[in-house]
């Protein structure tokens, strides 16, 4: 796999470049498919694209959230994976996400019912929501969200780079401060992004935990990604990053915790709406619980919670990158399923839908994203050598 020892310089192995090239090819192939889809079935294109976009964004945004959390808590667990997170949540990847948002911005009329003037005019509730749900405000807010993430990714990346150069110990403190501010900004912006981009697909329906549900899903995506990256970078006789079982155990525990919290948020929303049984809210679950999407719901619970939960209970599985990898792949698929479950029934409540574009979109966006991610991995040493806690993190048994 990785040819040539890194000799403690923690440089990316060649396999990273290979993976990046695979991503690029996949991205181009996906793009061709997307173009074909755009030409033939425009409405479906936008729906599938939104799902793929949110899936891809989750990798970056989730990584940003976990990175911010690491800086705030200064936990040793985060030092080992900081560069992976920085590569996933870089101005490069998030900038790509900003560019990739353009089709959604152009497709609002196809995606969002509240952009239809005549529908809004005939509906008292939508008229009431007009000050919030209108195209200029939507686009402005979207730009702000993306800008916030890019700014924090850039600042943390810069601080991290400066730490590599100067070794100034005060930088750790600044990273903590930016981390605290960033965590607040990320939680708020992502909450409202989730409301705007996803929840407003069914503009009458609302749920206050929705933002947190989307956010924890992104955290799951990010940790699954990290687990796969740990396999890529930590394997072989002279691994690029010396991941010890103990480190992987921490990552596995974090992934396990996020999966549980995802289920907790999902169940909380469900039981409150189920018990209240208010028609204003039940619309979200009628098709998902009793109707055409019931099987999808069951599959989601199994694949996003029950199965990973059972698998991650094992201590041995958490301590090996090889054993973690299948769970991570499963969860990355479950992430897509979760988003499909959130988005697709808004357009087709009465029938289950799965279009080939639903797979082309994540292929295209994920492919390009992967390429950019590997560029990030190659850009700098894979461990922050001047991080004051690095020794502690490495020593960590």
């Amino acid at each position: 796999m990785n040819s040539g020892s890194n000799g403690g310089s923690y440089l990316a192995p060649e396999s990273v470049g290979k993976i990046g090239r695979i991503g690029l090819v996949a991205g181009i192939a996906g793009l061709v498919l997307l173009a074909a889809g755009f030409a033939t079935n425009r409405d479906q294109f936008f729906r599938s694209y939104l799902t793929g976009y949110m899936w891809m964004l989750g990798l970056s945004a989730g990584a940003l959230g976990v990175l911010l959390l690491h800086h705030v808590t200064r936990g040793a667990w985060g030092v080992m994976i900081r560069r992976i997170l920085e590569a996933a949540a870089s101005p490069r990847t998030l900038g790509f996400a900003a560019v990739a948002f353009l089709p959604i911005a152009l497709g609002t009329h196809s995606l969002y019912e509240w952009t239809h003037g005549e529908v809004v005019a005939a509906d008292a509730i939508l008229t009431h929501k007009k000050p919030w749900l209108n195209t200029p405000a939507f686009l402005t807010r979207s730009a702000i969200y993306l800008a916030i993430w890019i700014v924090f990714a850039a600042v943390l990346g810069r601080l991290s780079a400066r730490q590599d150069e100067t070794g100034d110990r005060r930088l750790a403190l600044w990273m903590q401060r930016w981390g605290a501010a960033g965590l607040v900004a990320y939680l708020l912006s992502m909450t409202f992004a989730a409301f705007d981009w996803l929840m407003s697909l069914t503009p009458h329906w609302y749920s206050t935990i929705y933002g947190l549900y989307v956010i924890i899903g992104q955290a799951v995506a990010a940790m699954a990604l990290v687990a796969l990256a740990a396999l890529l970078l930590g394997e072989g006789p002279s691994p690029a990053v010396p991941f010890q079982p103990r480190h992987l155990h921490d990552l596995g525990k974090l992934l396990f915790a996020f999966v549980c919290v995802w289920a907790y948020f999902g169940y909380s929303q469900f039981i409150i709406i189920w018990s209240g049984n208010l028609p204003e809210e039940t619309t979200f679950y009628t098709s998902r619980m009793n109707g055409a999407w019931k099987a999808t719901t069951i599959a989601l619970v199994l694949l996003h919670y029950a199965l990973p939960f059972a698998l991650l209970l094992s201590r041995d599985r958490k301590r090996s990158a090889r054993a973690l990898a299948p769970v991570a792949v499963l969860l990355l698929f479950a992430r897509w399923l979760d988003l499909h479950w959130l988005i697709a029934p808004s357009f087709s409540a009465d029938a289950f839908t799965l279009h080939w574009l639903d797979l082309a979109a994540p292929l295209a966006l994920g492919g390009f994203w992967l390429f950019l991610f590997t560029l990030g991995l190659k850009a700098r040493p894979l461990l922050p050598e001047n991080e004051p806690f690095l020794k502690e993190a490495l020593a960590h048994e």
Binding site: Y267, F270, I271, W274, S275, L313
Partner: protein, 183 residues
């Protein structure tokens, strides 16, 4: 193994050390000398001592998992039976099998049983409660075992146990004190 029907006169021979490092060295030496029935006494858990004595195979996690599953299945089963079979009632138009509402109690049932199993299982596996034990017959043990003393005991059911030679062996390790632990 030991033949006699009556309890042996000695529980073992105990040596006290000043630091964890000395204790670790002593454990290493005792193992090298072929002793297998060893126990150490430390005022706080020391990972390396547990490693040296090979004590990392607790059955507790399995016990707790089992108890949690029993608790969850038990509570859900009961809620279902009580609500849908034994006394079916139309409550607010909700279905008899209101499974979403049974989940919180089910979850608590799992935690309740698992938690009790963890605590009781720990006591059971440790042979507690047992208010008295031969090691307490050593005065310095009582004074220091729960403060700052690190003790090693070669127990009398060790096949190579022979009080005088064990004593001599332990004394060679530069302990604070060596004592025979009477039963």
């Amino acid at each position: 193994m030991h033949g006699p029907q009556t309890e042996p006169l000695l529980h073992g021979v105990m040596a006290e050390f000043r630091t964890p490092e000395e204790l670790l060295e002593a454990i290493g030496a005792a193992k090298a000398a072929g002793f297998t029935k060893l126990d150490a006494y430390t005022p706080y858990p020391i990972e390396k001592v547990l490693d040296a004595l090979d004590l990392h195979h607790s059955k507790l996690p399995l016990l707790v998992l089992g108890a949690s599953i029993v608790g969850a299945v038990g509570v859900f089963g009961f809620a279902y039976w009580a609500s849908a079979i034994d006394y079916p009632l139309n409550i607010g138009g909700r279905p008899l099998n209101s499974w979403p509402a049974f989940i919180p109690a089910t979850f608590e049932g799992a935690i309740f049983h698992g938690g009790l199993a963890a605590a009781l299982g720990m006591l059971l596996l440790n042979g507690l409660p047992r208010p008295h034990h031969p090691v307490f017959n050593v005065p310095r043990f009582v004074d220091h075992a729960s403060k700052d003393g690190y003790f090693l005991v070669v127990e009398s059911d060790d096949p190579r146990f022979d009080a005088p030679s064990v004593k001599r062996f332990l004394e060679s390790l530069a302990p604070v004190e060596v004592n025979e632990v009477e039963n």
